[in-house]
Symmetry: C3
Subunit: 288 residues, 3 copies
């Protein structure tokens, strides 16, 4: 690593910000890699939400400069689940990903072209844990490993090779297109009330919808009409739009409003989206 470069660690977790968990991981990274900088992607993945974290991590990758990726959403901490380093991508987009082997890293590796090497972290090669409990592998396992790699270590220094075929795949929300309806899930509502969907923007084209079309969005007992758009302002204030989000997925938004409130749904909800012209009398404008 040239002396002028700044090693980066990109960090995503479900630790939240109210507890000192994130700060202590930063402290450990500073101890092992004093010159590294940490970019906090988000720490508000739903607690133990492996699938949500996995998709968020994959979505963030395209904006990242070269960095070691540290991701911790770890319902299996303290069990025999593996701690791993995964390599994917070709230079300059090659990345090393550090985290639990529970599917969290898989979509990110896929987005880079697929995992081509992996290592199982050997905790006997790490500094001893500060206390006896095995409840905080972020601080005790994953952050030290990510920091040492950011400081120049090779994954062979922290673990033994693992066939990539043995890595765990995640269970992700299923998006399907059939009978003229797109079925997809809400990954999360963002701060502005926009509903971020699992479906990717290409599925608009697969459904033969183009900008300007009207679609009906059903969320349980509620439904609303939305216009296929490219940005929030393509519809009037108070109207609903279906448009690409910042990561290439679809989102449902209300211009100057809150789609999560209008449809009464958030993280995990299932949506059914159909062509508004093909529907009967039960199509209502947003908010009714």
């Amino acid at each position: 690593m040239p002396s002028q470069s700044v090693p980066l660690v990109a960090f995503l977790s479900d630790y939240g910000r109210s507890d000192p968990f994130v700060g202590l991981c930063h402290a450990v990274i500073a101890a092992h890699a004093p010159h590294a900088r940490v970019i906090d992607l988000t720490h508000d993945v739903a607690p133990q939400g492996v699938a949500e974290g996995a998709l968020l991590l994959a979505d963030c990758l395209s904006s990242l400069p070269p960095a070691v990726v540290l991701a911790v959403v770890d319902p299996g901490v303290g069990t025999s689940r593996r701690a791993v380093v995964v390599a994917a991508g070709t230079p300059p987009h090659r990345r090393l990903l550090v985290g639990p082997d529970n599917g969290l890293l898989w979509p990110a590796a896929e987005a880079l072209g697929g995992a081509d090497a992996a290592w199982e972290i050997d905790i006997t090669r790490l500094p001893s844990r500060p206390v006896a409990a095995r409840t905080f592998d972020g601080r005790d396992v994953f952050a030290p490993v990510a920091a040492r790699i950011a400081a120049g270590a090779h994954p062979d220094d922290v673990g033994a090779p693992l066939p990539v075929e043995e890595l765990i795949r995640p269970e992700l929300p299923i998006t399907s297109l059939g009978d003229g309806a797109l079925h997809t899930a809400v990954l999360r509502a963002d701060r502005f009330g926009n509903l971020l969907l699992a479906a990717v923007a290409e599925e608009l084209g697969q459904a033969a919808w183009v900008v300007g079309d009207e679609v009906c969005i059903e969320a349980g007992a509620r439904s609303a009409t939305a216009r296929v758009s490219t940005t929030f302002a393509d519809v009037p204030a108070g109207a609903m739009a279906l448009l690409p989000d910042a990561f290439g997925r679809l989102q449902v938004a209300v211009c100057e409003g809150d789609a999560s409130h209008v449809l009464g749904v958030g993280r995990g909800a299932d949506l059914r989206i159909t062509d508004a012209r093909s529907r009967g009398s039960d199509v209502h404008p947003a908010g009714t």
Copy 2:
């Protein structure tokens, strides 16, 4: 820029912290300006609260070392609103401010002595957007421009000069003094329940109130008596004080208590403050 200096980007937005928006802006800044550091002033401006963000940004400036200022509260993302760079102040207090041209940057420029140059950002000079949507100009426009300037670029490298007269002015809360009453707005309640007001501390003197005076604070149907003070502990526990905040504005606080709770108001509320001696029998102590 001398090799030993650390370029700074001071960043304010309404992105919140639960979504990866802030983290992705950090990632983009690291990509364009690997040696820059980012100071997160706050990201909890009310969603699309341009006036609140504008005043907060102006208030924060006096504590800032030399830094490029990046501010994003952007209800017009995706519309034809301009993206701008604004210059204001004289060395060593000269600053370049990057953000949407919707009034957000104006009070900060005024606090520095007024904008004396501006540029309209030309997005054709930026790296191509990662996806087709135009919903995240923080990542795709403002952060790259702020980073490039922090790394030494001149605003001419990212845009064309714009007459400062064409910059948009914000609509700010109005503070007025008349008939013995100070009318002002609550900008926000802070974590301790203190009500931060739009009125500046000088308005105490214009109202001819001095430390020790008692004033009546009316918030809709509720009212309470407060003592003009210089710090929280100038009144007994449970009593209300009207005092300068950390930015030269006024605040309403309850010693060891929560003024927002006592008066039942928060962000955006209108207050009427009068001399308690000039009022009738409807003056009540805090909490009644």
Copy 3:
């Protein structure tokens, strides 16, 4: 300080993240110590929760690399309470701690072996405050002092020696063991609903409990049976465990669940823990 080292400031407060308080302290640190990095341990100590902040700070210390420690939980801001620098520990674990003299720094100093030197900060040696109010000593006193020390200043440069005997001790939650019951307090519930207790893990042994034992945890009118464990997964999903946390204290957790919800308690609650075998018919499984 060698030119290659990165000075660190570890920062804990009750400022929260919604206001610009933390960001402005970062700005001031960057102004006084451009090469320093700040590690935010947590800023979500309960507002004015000196005891909670004091224990959290002490708990975080063992994970910290060499750093100046900046801690601000300061209900007495604006009063005559002292602002202090405290030294404790022997190299390489010697630390300088900066904050209000209200007990906040004391447990951290004890964890390092006890304070062996202290200084009272002399605010006349600091840059003048930006405004007249004395409501934000984090920005105006503590952050500048921490930054100057991080940049190489000696505490003598910012204050006068103070006998360590004069430092204020905090009032901490009392843990007691007697009549077969461990009485302790909930310091806080973490994001996962785990109840972090004041009792330290050694008290399990003093109570003669070993891994596998069943204990009864009483919280007011509710009670539940928990198993003494070493990690979350030692009990089945939905069952309650009493185990060491990441800091050497005890915690109550529900495997794949939320102990705070099951017991209906959070920050500040008192718990009574007894051997389940010695109890009568009023022992119930978790959640009943």
